[in-house]
Amino acid sequence: MSALLEITDLSIAFDGHTKVVDQLSLSLNPAETLALVGESGSGKSVSALSILRLLDERHVRYPSGAIRFEGEDLLRVPEKRLRQLRGRRISMIFQEPMTSLNPLHTVEKQIGETLALHKGLRGPQARQRCIELLDLVGIAEPETRLSSYPHQLSGGQKQRVMIAMALANEPDILIADEPTTALDVTVQKQVLELLAELQRKFKMAVLLITHDLSIVRRYADRVAVLERGVLVEQGETGVLFTQPQHPYTRRLLGAEPPAAPPESPAASEQPLLQVEGLNVHFVTGKTLLGRTKSTFHAVQDVSFSLPRGQTLGIVGESGSGKTTIGHALLKLTPSQGAVQIAGERLDQLDQRAFRPYRQRIQIVFQDPFGSLSPRMSISQIIGEGLEIHHPGPPQDHEAKVVQALQDVGLDPEARHRYPHEFSGGQRQRIAIARALVLQPEIIVLDEPTSALDRTVQIQVIELLRDLQQRYGLSYLFISHDLAVVRALSHKLLVLRRGQVVECGDAGRVFSAPQSPYTRELLSAALFYQNTSHKKPNQLP
């Protein structure tokens, strides 16, 4: 079988920098799925974008190599020829469905654009084809969806529209660049199953770029592993997963969070944090006179308690109100309902009266790139809370900052540097140090690992477990990633649309979920882990 796409010795460099991809050789056969895996910064996406020459040509250089598509070297064909191939023979799905659709165009217009371009379809014919495509990707009532704008669709629907656009001209190759990273687990599963089914139907070759190995195991025929732009290993999926040769592959494969939280001290009779009947409303519309017309009930009657030294995991899909609960506890969002820390009512305090309590309850945010002020040094960032809560001489603060940095496993000398000099994992450690330096009793962890690579996630989880044991901290761990939640949580709260679906000991919820929604969530999340290397999309 001759390869459909043949990449030989491809090197890519951006001006003035070292090569981001070095001597990459890959081949993609018709109707097969090749997965390109690696951590962020390993050159996966750059390699994929280079196939259609979508990288900014003003800055990119290709020092060596060739990309042959049916014998034609794409690196050397004129732009005009490339435009004929793009979207027609080779299509692409991007990672971020929120930004890869034009917000000002309707679904029909966006799908119709590629139809008109390559097939010359217009008017009723194009409309008919759009409906077919939307139907194909599993969008209910496609006729009514034609005139929708992207903001009227959910994340999963947007990704389906993207897929419909990519498939519009029945391409030979589909490049899927992290197609499901931005989606919820249940949606993720649906989209991937859809892709696999469509691949069978059209006999497309798929280049799947992902950092999620469980997806790879389920859907790929072959796997290529990239480490810092160098191809370290490639092979059949089954072989690679059972007998990884390269140490980097082994490290990637071994990166599974522990399956249970560490032992916790026996819960005392009085919980440290007690929440009863928490409600959060957002005003979504106002009349001309400023009277509230409509509200969105983001959190409805949520109650839970958190014992000292333990972790309560809050899970749910996006929009379920997990983050809002965290913000409400810290009074970053107005809320109603009783909140007690060690028996003291906090919910009736105003911002000023609440300020002393902020030292006891701290938060770590999801995005380590956004939560650190870019213009302050690490020492200023970490020491800022100390100035408020422990006014004292600068030397004392310095010593505490150094201690906090050591606690999170960073070099104390790092305090003189600025956030942009650190990687995502290091930044998240800094964010944890900022919370830790105040010696809080409770830390709200709002998706602290979701922006990180799996191997880095595990390090952060280890760090959190270690800190909990050392300082007897209580965590409120908010996440959509059940594998991570399982590694930390003693208790679990499952949320759906602002309401508690299930609440109880983590072990029990994981092993014997009571509500159907929890079962669905668990099966979607753990779906890939439980499947064997058997390929479901093997051609008959």
Binding site: Q362, F365, R375
Partner: protein, 342 residues
């Protein structure tokens, strides 16, 4: 030694500033010119710097000496340009003159041609139509323009940033009312108001400053407000609130630095706007009291005396030089505060 005392961020800003060669040299050129203009009394003056007469030393620049000290007839301030007095002093001592022997309001009565007189060894840039030395007036005019511009910019910044910060940070009704007020206020015909106001009061430096300040602060509000509106939902601002920082500290420490680049980018424009504002008022005759050294008045004279190009050219060159230097410096400052440059 000096570098060792600065914090790393300041050191990096300094390096970035220096890296913009054009701005760096502009700053030195500007400091030199401004420094020289600050000691304008020692460069262009109608009194000598030092007088030795009958063995006694006098410093007429800083002290007032009656004419009869030097053998004159009147007990009033000495006119050192009077040939009679000069003779008296030269006969029994000496005088040390500044390089330009005219102050901004000194009238040269000994012109050999009718004023405006063309450039000569005595009047380097010629005289204006009242026989006053143009070089001296340019030096004093430069000083007053820069001082006016800097003061106005300083106060405009304080008011503009404060208003923009409050509007952007609190949003809602405060923002709504503020924006409507700004719309009305910026709709006022500024020049007419200035003309009316300056006909009601006798304008001097501070009056003009106050009147122009009433309107000049608005330019900054929009950029600062936009920056605050954007930044108040940033995660690190939320993180700061979770740490227990007060609103004021959050605004100052976390959001203002974001707005600083926008503000600093605007500064050269405000500064040059202030200078041109003052110049145009002077040009129209509604500015500083008559007789004050001002570049605007010099331009007006140049326009009235097209046959004396040295008037217009001097005013143009000095204005252009000043504004160009300021903009170059402003660019370098903006580079220095940009955290993404390293």
């Amino acid at each position: 030694m000096r570098m060792a005392m600065l914090s790393p961020i300041q050191r990096r800003r300094l390096t970035n500033f220096r890296r913009n060669r054009r701005g760096y040299w502009s700053l030195w050129a500007f400091i030199l010119l401004f420094g020289l203009s600050l000691i304008a009394e020692l460069i262009a003056n109608d009194s000598p710097l030092l007088v030795s007469y009958q063995g006694t030393l006098y410093a007429p620049v800083v002290q007032s000496i009656p004419e009869d000290t030097f053998g004159g007839f009147l007990p009033t301030e000495t006119d050192y340009r009077d040939p009679f007095i000069q003779e008296q002093i030269e006969a029994d001592g000496w005088m040390l003159w500044p390089p330009i022997r005219f102050s901004y309001n000194t009238i040269n009565y000994q012109l050999e041609v009718p004023s405006p007189a063309p450039p000569s060894a005595e009047n380097w840039l010629g005289t204006d139509d009242q026989g006053r030395d143009v070089a001296a007036r340019v030096i004093y005019g430069f000083r007053i323009s820069v001082l006016f511009g800097l003061t106005l910019t300083f106060f405009s910044c304080i008011v503009g940033v404060a208003v923009g910060a409050i509007q952007g940070f609190y949003g809602g009704k405060i923002d709504l009312v503020g924006q409507r007020f700004l719309e009305v206020w910026s709709g006022l015909p500024v020049l007419y108001l200035l003309i009316i106001l300056s006909s009601v009061v006798q304008p001097n430096f501070w009056w003009l400053l106050g009147i122009m300040l009433l309107f000049s602060w608005m330019g900054l509000v929009d950029v600062v407000r936009a920056e605050f509106l954007r930044a108040r939902n940033f995660e690190y601002v939320r993180a700061a609130r979770a740490l227990g920082l007060s609103n004021r500290l959050i605004m100052f420490r976390h959001i203002l630095p974001n707005a600083m680049v926008a503000t600093l980018t605007f500064l050269p424009f405000i500064l040059s706007g202030a200078i041109t504002g003052l110049t145009s008022l002077d040009f129209l005759g509604f500015g500083l009291p008559s007789g004050s050294p001002s570049l605007g008045e010099l331009i007006a004279q140049g326009k009235a005396n097209l046959h004396a190009p040295w008037l217009g050219v001097s005013a143009f060159v000095s204005l252009a030089l000043m504004l160009t230097l300021l903009v170059f410096i402003g660019e370098a400052v903006r580079d220095a505060f940009d955290p993404r440059k390293n």
